[in-house]
Symmetry: C2
């Protein structure tokens, strides 16, 4: 102990630091890999095309060929990894991380294999020119990093891979294991994952505060001061790491350049046009959401590996075709701005030296650089030196690109490849806004309209309408662009876009994806209003199976094998007087006479007891063993770490018959003894003081208890403390019903008899 801190606190801080730094490194590596891959690909394609300069059609065809070849190889690798190795890494991953942080178990979500696939897949997806961004995957990568770091020790130490087989210092390792067991409980793990989320988004936008707020507003259900600090430290460290390695990011991830803040008069004059800008941004976002939802119907099933791979390659081909066809037919050759020349941005395509084909630039360049270019269309957006006004992009090209991009990104969202929606939404908004700005600039030349500002605000609007989040978005945009001067415009854009988009459909991309996932039950931290008018009794499940304090092995095995329940009440055998009394009342006495709640025991505890053959006879005397304190302690530790030791990342298997069969209790293992004479004494292991709710209780209060105390099973009792039902996550979700936040899918009704 030092200064009130134990080693545990220090260890947790070290883990937090490590998560922040490593996530930052991933962010830097991601952006470096993407920019190197894209620029070398572009250079090669450009060189190949230059060979056929005299025949434009041929040149475009050759370019397309190489584009599809490169892209196809990259996405094939990525999609194969996703399909055959780590299916949980498809898509952005933010939704599933949200569900995980809400308390759902998502198999394999935070494995090491998922982390690797996510990273490689995102690099390839973005580099191959698919309309996808790295921000959403960064959230998932941050969460994976946190999970891998906190679980790593357990996995290698307990499976014996690292030290066990070498038989070196075995005792010391066991001691160390105990400390680690203490440090990382389930709720600590959740806290680290929250911190990882914050670090991921913070690193992607170079926005430490925005990271904390995103983690709080979108990702986390459980929030406390401790979590906030962890997120803050972790996010700040990851941003710091990014800036140390790549000092250019000091100006924000998507810096505004070339723009001057609007005066109050300019705001007032341009307000009507800005409102149109925001409203259209809202419509674009909503259109994307609707299209994406409609496309789910026609996508290949998740299990058809080859079809899924073909889908992705098809999208690469589609993107390439659009790019090369439109670039050669509709693209305009414009003068290359000098700042672009320095950065190596702008695709020449078939234009003369010193010019760029604007559509080719939009389609083929690094999306991140395109956004920076769009956000620099300020007052001086004419190329300096030239007398006439030459825009960065022509109006027609921007309009065409916006329309294409919305369709392509809708197709892209939901494919078996990692990729996020932040960047594409920003591109769509930036293009639309820039185009609108140029239109107004043409209409009213005296106003000095800055298309870049229209683009930036429209990008915020599209983000708002796609994600339907508010304040974290504002802070992310302000921090990401370092555009504090535009904060009121940004707020207005988010509000207007949200309002307009709400006429088309209600839920943002996270909510609708959560519905699609199906076996995920999201609990809001505030009880849904519908629960205010219900009682606990009306929402609970009644088919509760329980055990007596000393239960026979036969009954236990039967119940464990025939149900998939994870928590069981232990109820008293009941004094005759009371059960007689109850029988006359005829209320709660159903099959076992008296069901007065004594405690709760979980399936994992029972499995540990069975595995250890921890049997007693009918009177509670141990069979075939002596009492030993060390043994009991070991038992206790194993019960706590059961899922981590045996079912890391896939704890759902524990509720199937499989672990029971692997114990081989029925046959060989116990041939010598009669199964009927064996019992388990549950009293020392059950939770003797379960928090319960009364059946008259308001369902919203039950929701509060369930969520605030982080429960998995909440037993419902009557005023005699007899068990009448059980509330789980599913029941609360079912009872919440069809609120504004949920349009289609809901949990099945509770299991009542």
């Amino acid at each position: 102990k030092l200064w009130g801190y134990t080693g545990h606190t220090m260890a947790k801080f070290l883990v937090t630091f490590a998560v922040g730094v490593i996530t930052g490194c991933f962010a830097v590596a991601l952006s470096k890999c993407v920019s190197i891959l894209i620029s070398s690909k572009l250079l090669f394609i450009q060189n190949q095309m230059t060979l056929y300069e005299e025949d434009p059609a041929m040149a475009a065809f050759i370019g397309l060929l190489w584009f599809v070849l490169f892209g196809g190889i990259m996405v094939s690798i990525a999609t194969s990894m996703v399909q055959y190795w780590a299916p949980a890494s498809a898509g952005a991953g933010v939704t599933l991380v949200m569900a995980y942080l809400n308390g759902n178990h998502i198999p394999n979500l935070l494995r090491f294999s998922t982390l690797i696939t996510k990273f490689v897949g995102t690099v390839f997806a973005v580099s191959s020119g698919l309309p996808m961004g790295p921000e959403g995957p960064m959230v998932h990568i941050g969460a994976c990093v946190a999970s891998v770091i906190t679980y790593m020790d357990f996995k290698y130490l307990t499976s014996g891979k690292l030290f066990g087989r070498l038989k070196v210092k075995e005792i010391a390792i066991k001691e160390r294991l105990k400390v680690l067991d203490e440090i990382v409980s389930d709720s600590d793990h959740r806290e680290f994952v929250s911190a990882g989320v914050s670090a991921g988004i913070a690193a992607a936008f170079a926005a430490p505060i925005g990271g904390v707020l995103f983690s709080m507003e979108e990702a986390c259900t459980f929030w406390s001061k401790k979590t906030a600090w962890r997120c803050f430290i972790c996010g700040a460290l990851s941003v710091y790491t990014v800036q140390i390695i790549n000092p250019a990011l000091g100006d924000g991830a998507i810096p505004l350049s070339n723009m001057t803040p609007l005066t109050i008069r300019e705001w007032a004059e341009q307000l009507p046009f800005l409102l149109v800008d925001f409203a259209m941004a809202g419509l674009l976002g909503a259109a994307f959401n609707s299209l994406r939802m409609w496309l789910w119907k026609v996508r290949a099933a998740k299990t058809l590996h080859l079809q899924r791979i073909a889908e992705v390659i098809g999208l690469v081909f589609l993107v390439g075709s659009c790019a090369f066809f439109f670039a050669s037919t509709a693209g305009k050759c414009l003068e290359l701005p000098p700042t672009w020349e320095e950065d190596g941005y702008g695709v020449r395509f078939l234009c003369p030296e010193g010019q760029h084909n604007d559509l080719a630039t939009l389609f083929l360049s690094n999306t991140h650089e395109t956004i920076i270019a769009l956000f620099s269309m300020g007052k001086g957006s004419a190329v300096p030196g030239s007398e006439t006004f030459v825009p960065y992009f022509s109006i027609g090209s921007l309009a065409l690109y916006t329309a294409c991009y919305v369709v392509l990104m809708s197709i892209g969202a939901g494919l078996a490849i990692p990729g996020g929606l932040f960047m594409p939404s920003i591109v769509v908004g930036g293009c639309w806004g820039g185009m609108w700005g140029y239109v107004i600039k043409d209409l009213i030349p005296s106003w000095k309209v800055q298309p870049g500002i229209y683009g930036m605000l429209a990008a915020t609007g599209v983000l708002g309408s796609v994600f339907r989040s508010a304040i974290s978005l504002v802070v992310l945009m302000v921090e990401g662009t370092r555009g504090v001067d535009y904060i009121f415009g940004i707020i207005l854009a988010v509000v207007v876009a949200n309002y307009v988009a709400n006429f088309i459909h209600h839920d943002g991309v996270y909510e609708s994806e959560l519905e699609r996932v199906g076996n995920v039950y999201m609990l809001q931290s505030d009880p849904p209003s519908r629960l205010n008018t219900l009682t606990t009794e009306s929402i609970m499940a009644t088919g509760v199976k329980g055990f007596r304090p000393i239960e026979s092995l036969v009954t236990l095995l039967e119940v464990l094998a025939t149900t998939s329940h994870n928590g069981f009440p232990v109820w008293s055998e009941g004094s005759d007087v009371e059960s007689a009394d109850l029988k006359t009342e005829g209320s709660a006495s159903e099959d076992e006479g008296c069901r007065r709640l004594e405690g709760i025991i979980t399936r994992s505890q029972l499995l540990v007891l069975l595995q250890r053959r921890h049997f007693v006879d009918a009177h509670g005397n141990p069979v075939g063993r002596e009492f030993s304190e060390g043994y009991e302690l070991e038992l206790e530790t194993e019960m706590r770490t059961f899922f981590r030791r045996y079912y890391t990342h896939c704890r759902y298997i524990s509720a199937t018959r499989q672990p029971l069969e692997s114990l081989s209790l029925d046959n060989g293992g116990l041939a010598a003894v009669d199964l009927n004479s064996l019992y388990l004494d549950l009293r020392p292991y059950m939770n003797r003081s379960p928090v319960t709710v009364r059946k008259e209780c308001a369902a919203s209060r039950a929701h509060q208890v369930f969520v605030n105390l982080n429960m998995r099973h909440l037993f419902v009792v009557d005023s005699h403390n007899h068990v009448v039902g059980l509330i789980t996550r599913k029941d609360l979700d079912h009872a919440a019903g069809h609120g504004w936040w949920r349009m289609s899918h809901q949990a099945e009704p509770p299991r009542n008899k």
Copy 2:
């Protein structure tokens, strides 16, 4: 309803906006008043002294006279207001706001009178030259603004002062009242107060994020996403208001000027000296804390009005004497830097034109400007133009001032006048650090030491050691000084100062003040570790008084008059079988046979029922009234708003005999009826589904339930659901015992029989 929002949400947002803007206005008014008062006072004194320029002793005496006269008048007014009108406004007020937000009831803490006194008192205290700052009071002012706004309507509408007596639109007002009753529940009020705290500190430091973090780290116990958003919006608005009215604050409240960030080499070279700087800052903070705690013993009692006023005037005299004595004997005449001349900073005292007396400047100027001057002692701290190096302040003067100031601020903390400790701590740190920087500059002239950086970091260190907070402090300093480049130095300073100060004493200024307050029971949001080894049974109070569902008036009145309990269990009369069963067990059956918990009723509900003469006979049939739905609804509303309607700001009175006597049930009121034949039917009003804990439950779990579900009374039951005890805030506090966070005082033991 619009877009999922009801009018309530909108009303709450409007309240939040109003709190932010009004708090911002208070902040601006405060700083303006202070700077005007101080500068005109200084101008007058300087002119008076110039008349006696030939006789320095006489001049100093005349100056002192006027100083004490002005200051004495101002503090007399302020202290009289505090003593005779609003005692709750003494001191910084942060501690009491913390206690309030923890769930304690503090009489009159957030009244309108407290707000006015706090504002006027702070202006006078700071203007009269006392070693006090406006930041702590700003927190209290923000909290008061929030409370006054949320409660204003109720007070004027229900007391009938505004409309009732005019009998205008009475029905419309009643309708409106219902809406307001819905809007502002106790927990909403707490949320608004949290937002006010955030707005107050944000406005004081021009740091919106720092405000949220301070509210989260220091002030609030209950924290949720909703609270965070409210704090954020409110803080951002108040900062925005401040900056609109006073654009100079755009660079932060205490901007660094004249300084260049250290290179990594400079950090490394100066590290040993910086560590000494931080350690000494920690010692200074700890010395202040110890001295302040020791001085509590010799202060006047709170009730001795005149002595308390004399104390404050005495301090003014002491400050004045120190200032004028040291300035004329030890003060050095130094050249006036040109930037100071522009700002009108620097006191000439008896020096020649174009110079200033450094000690007089330190003692007599506006503290805020002194801090800015201290933080601008950078590379160019020599007066430009002059060949030789002339510091802003001489080393001796800084040392003398640091020593004096620590003593004076220790005396000041705890007087009957509003005033905070942030500013004084920063001054002490700034002076010490600046002096140390000058010393090193003299020792190693080749290093280009910047004393201002030493001062700024030492100021952070002193703050850290006085308040023992960490991250909110770092963010506040970074935002307040806009010194992002120094963030790692700031973090190091906080850590080192905290570490060093911990050797002297453990608790920060808030913790030690909480102990001194006495009747405040602070619950941490994480259970203290001591509770992990206790059961609920061992910490609960057992002397629980309860009622039967239909209880006789005589029993009720007796229990209400003889206890000061605020919550009572309603227990069943019990079937004979069960109570017989229990008697044989001989466990929980004490005086009333069976104590099976049916529900909970509060004293306020009983008082409403009594006041409305809501009686029944022994069989539950109403006496002297018919059932009416409207009447029942009214009853329900009155129960919910009882404390706000009758005991706003002083709800403790409700648990005395006074309200009972004012009902005059014993004598006149009910002469016609026999008291013994009257009963109250509690069943329709009690909470039928109380959350309880079992007596075997770990005390830390009970703490979690109590704190997470925001309870006031938590009944402890056995497995038969019989009441065996009760846990209140006091019991949890007592059980937490003497941890690191509490050194002296603790709650009395639970009331056991």
